[in-house]
Symmetry: C2
DNA sequence: GTCTATAGAAAGATAGAC
DNA sequence: GTCTATCTTTCTATAGAC
């Protein structure tokens, strides 16, 4: 290889940037914003800490970019579930599936909750959740109080995720997924249906 | 004051210990385990950082004691609600009340979730929540799958708290409390009732 | 019982070589 | 484009005076 003999090492800027983002994602999901340092993120990407700040300016800017990427797509509201005639049942099963201890679907939420000690992280997450998750869910719920009903559905998802996936409450993490889905289905059905008043 | 002229300053051991615990409570609720330092906790108690470690050995031991105190009592399951003939309605209203942005009732949960980045904090919280909150709630739910139903009730509480109180989702934090209670009531009713199968 | 002072590690961020 | 080396701050925890 005569032509590239004096190139510094191997990667280009785009690949390095992506590697840092990916490592930061893993670290923030695992330990939250305050629980991980720039050095650890850099090591996970195979670079040095200095490059992280060079590419993203600061740890906070990096976090903002990671969380924006992770919370930019709805999770329990996929096109498939929407088109289904058994929406409540499908959604209940999906909630149970994505909150499994091994599931990674809700990484964005997990990162958010694990970083909830940081006020700035909560602000960033609020914006994204409202824009991408709540607004879309509320949009498909017809009738009165759609915003509140959508928010309560999100609350149920968030709560199950936290107690099942993060806290590891035995009654949830060791439960039969089918049982959980059966118990959650009527709740979703009640929130999808029009309120009585 | 001739007799106590050479006493160091003012307090006794018990009062100092209590002041540190109280300050630590406030700090951990606000910023989570990783988000606050021993110096800040000490300053809030009017002492120096050294005393914190002298009384509690380490920051982690202090946290363990604080979270044990905060999670030692059930919150949505008070004697009053239990005796009520309209249990579901009362519990729904109570959930809305204790997750108000100004409410302090669920400080223990809030501290837990804000500290969820720390694995150790999650372990400590799991033990307490299972022992004091989940077990008692499951105990009053008759019929099959009581443990799972109780856990889902706790999930709903936790989820609403997080999105309403910590994230500040507008649809929840700016909503009419009565509307929220009306929407939550049938969910609680469905979980209190015996499962169909 | 409480203090000042500090040790030792680790944090975020930057300077400058190559 | 990536590195080593370092600055500055902050952290937990400890030593020793009074």
């Amino acid at each position: 290889m005569p032509e590239s003999a004096n190139k510094p090492r191997k990667r280009n800027a785009a690949a390095t940037r992506e590697a840092i983002l990916r490592s930061a994602h893993e670290c923030f999901v695992r330990s939250g914003y305050d629980g991980v340092g720039v050095r650890e993120i850099a090591a996970g990407a195979g670079v040095t800490a200095m490059l992280v700040n060079r590419y993203f300016g600061s740890k906070e800017s990096l976090f903002a970019e990671v969380i924006a990427r992770d919370l930019d797509a709805p999770t329990i509201l996929t096109p498939e579930t929407l088109a289904s005639p058994t929406l409540a049942r499908d959604m209940a099963r999906l909630i149970v599936a994505v909150t499994d201890s091994q599931a990674r679907t809700l990484d964005g939420f997990q990162m958010t909750f694990r970083s909830a000690g940081s006020t700035r992280a909560a602000e960033l997450a609020k914006e994204q959740i409202e824009r991408f998750h709540h607004q879309r869910l509320a949009g498909v719920l017809s009738g009165d109080k759609a915003a509140e009903r959508a928010a309560i559905i999100l609350s149920l998802v968030a709560g199950v995720q936290i107690l099942r996936q993060m806290i590891g409450l035995d009654a949830l993490s060791k439960a039969d997924p089918d049982v959980l889905a059966q118990l959650i289905e009527p709740l979703i059905a009640a929130l999808i249906a029009l309120p009585k008043a």
